[in-house]
């Protein structure tokens, strides 16, 4: 029996795919010919040769060294470093706040869980950009002048120029202290592994946490004292109209970090809540029936199972926070989008390479994260049934 060509599934599949490819190719051909023509008309170039050219503009806040004469490539690197700095600090803060709010949401105390619920509803139902701008214009810009700074213990200062904190200045031989610290941490892990071994062999869990803490702190302190305390703190001091010394971050950085981490913490709180609730109550009851202490039930029975539900959406929130840090441009913090896709693009006019590089960076970050995620998922899935 022969099927007519129109109802043959393979023939139709080939036809539809050919049509799609043709459409995509035509679209690309159309845009590329137009772009080439437009660029030659405006005398623009699509090459990457501008990367070595001196950018010639200053950047207000930078994590890595940059001077006005440096190349565009350096600007790109500065942008990436700033974006990653915001992402890392934001993720850490958002996780801590999210954990607290998520646990408060689960609290048996009606008042606390209601407060947590409304905190989440208020913040996640308003735009992040609005929150960033409100924190910037409404809080950090209205802080007092440097002379009347808000201060904590003469070490930390907050004013309308930014947040000032002491910076460490390691002297000769500080490396030894760091080595001692690393050795202490390694030893603590060995002790912990040993304790677990004992637990599996004898069923008794020895108290090791005090020993672990001592192992981490004492050798490092000892070496630090013996080498003559080779660490000085550069404390910011008010001179004239501004602070000198120490480290400082601009108000835009503070506003961005606070807004990003508070906004993301709402989503994290909901993820943690639903993750813990996803573990059936029978597990808790079974643990109690076996006589497991409530604290250990949480640690050894609920959390490992909840983690499987929590981790994937949590990572995607971390990725969202990283992408959302691009909103820094609205308050003038020099992140990647701001220094690269805005300032550099306007100054050099190389739209195509600059857009491609920016998107390439974000794509690379997401791809890397999703690769790690897929591996984790495969492992987490395997341990099921």
């Amino acid at each position: 029996m022969t099927t007519p060509i129109l109802s043959n599934a393979t023939a139709r599949a080939i036809f539809y795919q050919a049509l799609t490819v043709l459409g995509v190719v035509l679209l690309f051909w159309y845009t590329i010919t137009n772009t080439v023509e437009n660029m030659s008309q405006r005398g623009m170039s699509a090459g990457f040769d501008f990367l070595d050219v001196s950018a010639g503009f200053g950047i207000g806040f930078k994590l890595i060294d940059y001077r006005e004469g440096d190349s565009y490539l350096r600007v790109f690197e500065v942008g990436i470093a700033n974006t990653l700095l915001v992402a890392v600090i934001g993720i850490a803060l958002a996780t801590v706040i999210g954990l607290v709010v998520g646990l408060a949401r689960l609290s048996g105390n009606w008042l606390i869980s209601t407060i947590a619920r409304w905190y989440i509803e208020m913040l996640r139902n308003t735009p992040l950009l609005l929150q960033i701008i409100a924190w910037y214009f409404g809080v950090f810009n209205l802080l007092p002048r440097p002379r009347d700074s808000v201060e904590w213990g003469g070490l930390f200062f907050l004013n309308n120029r930014g947040f000032y904190l002491p910076s460490p200045e390691p002297g000769q031989g500080f490396g030894l202290t760091l080595i001692a610290l690393a050795a202490g941490i390694a030893a603590a892990f060995v002790v912990r592994a040993h304790a677990r071994q004992r637990l599996f062999e004898t069923g008794k869990l020895p108290r090791v946490i005090p020993a672990m803490i001592a192992l981490v702190i004492l050798p490092a302190l000892l070496v630090f004292a013996l080498t003559g305390q080779p660490l000085a703190w550069n404390v910011p001091v008010l001179r004239g109209f501004n602070f000198q010394g120490g480290t400082s971050v601009p108000p835009s950085f503070c506003a961005l970090i606070i807004a990003l981490s508070i906004y993301t913490s709402c989503f994290i709180a909901e993820i943690i809540r639903s993750g813990i609730q996803s573990v059936s109550h029978g597990q808790t009851e079974a643990a109690r029936a076996l006589g497991v202490k409530p604290s250990r039930t949480m640690r050894y029975i609920i959390l490992p199972q909840a983690m499987r539900v929590i981790i994937p959406p949590l990572i995607s929130q971390y990725l969202n926070l990283t992408k959302n840090s691009s909103l820094a441009i609205a308050i003038g913090f020099p992140d990647l989008v701001s220094v690269w896709m805005n300032t550099s693009l306007n100054q050099s006019g190389r739209a195509i390479p600059i857009v491609a590089m920016t998107m390439g960076f974000y794509c690379a970050v997401s791809l890397a994260v999703s690769l790690v995620m897929n591996r984790y998922n495969r492992r987490a899935m395997l341990s099921e049934r």
Binding site: G138, K323, S326
Partner: protein
Amino acid sequence: MSDALIFQPKAGKPAPPSTLGVVGWVRGNLVSSLPNAALTLLGAYIVYAFFSAVIGWAIVDAVWEAQNRRECLDLVGRAGACWPGVKAWIPNLIYGLYPKDQVWRINAGFLVLVLWAVPLFLPWVRSKVMIGLGLVLLYPLLASYFFHGGDKGLVWGALIALGLTGFLWSWLTAIAEARREAPLLEGRRRWILLAGLYAVSLLVVSQWVLDEVQTRLWGGLFLTLVISGFGITVSLPAGILLALGRRSRMPLIAAVSTTFIELFRSVPLITVLFMFNTMLPLFLPAGVEVNRLLRAIVAVCLFSSAYMAEIVRGGLQAIPKGQYEAAAAVGLGFWQSTSLIVLPQALRIMIPSIVGSFIGLFKDTTLVSIIGLFDLLSMARAVGEDTVWLGLFIEPFFFVTMIYFVFCFSMSQYSFHLEARLGAGQRR
């Protein structure tokens, strides 16, 4: 046998009074233990501090009548809100720079939208799907003339008439179904009626003249609603197509869809907006002018389609394979089984995530302020840059935050309601 012992249950004792009523609730939920009582105190303090600060600032110490910011500052300093500035700017916050004498057109346009949507909520209307589809597909045509106006060529005029026909047809259907005169709208009669309606609409539209209002004057809440409306309307069907493409067994179609989805999902919206803002003029033939609003709308639509596609894909994956096989066994083709069997079930599961994505889109429209459009957020920012109200930032932000919150919160509450109603048959 009459003296045999028969089990006579005693009446149950009432629960201890300490677990009943208000007292029981308070004991159980607020002060069940000492740490819990401490937490309650802490919570009460947080609530008190928050509300006393907000109410004190926004109502008790606020200034309601003033000519400019200086006057406010002289009266209460920064301790109270300065509402006259916001009050003076409310027209701009809602309509942007739209000419004052033309603002009625925006109101009329939204009134038509509401009227068109009314049959969707009437219990006796049966063709809700058709009316809803017509609303989504045809309303933008009608609204385009309300909002933009100006010279309508032949094609645009015909499209506007199509929109008007859709509106009249929806109400005709609703009325006919209310009076159970459905046969009136069946068979050949329906087409004659439709043609007649279209002819009338063409006549009306040809006589209908509105001044042109350029899109650069659009702004405020109106612009926010236009952009997010476009995004919502385009992203759902486009997302469904992309999701079907990604799950397709044809490798090339799957590859094209996957690339599109992953590319747009891995970059921030602001980079997409920047890209379209700088590159769209390069992509099109020289001399073709694309206005800023259209660039932003294209970017928002593509971006949200990619997110919607992943949500739809999740919903499709949740449908058991048996459903596909049963549909195939009954002899339904791909499009029939997808649109009649799989999608209706998948869409119901997806409602919370779809609405969540709409809320995200609505919030994300604030990003267009960065590329120079005057949406609600940029209008709020403009208040503090007005010479009369210089430096007035917190009050307009507070006001605008409330607007966003009301929109987003009611959307999410409606989705819970919808989920509960549509899931009624599934609950056990």
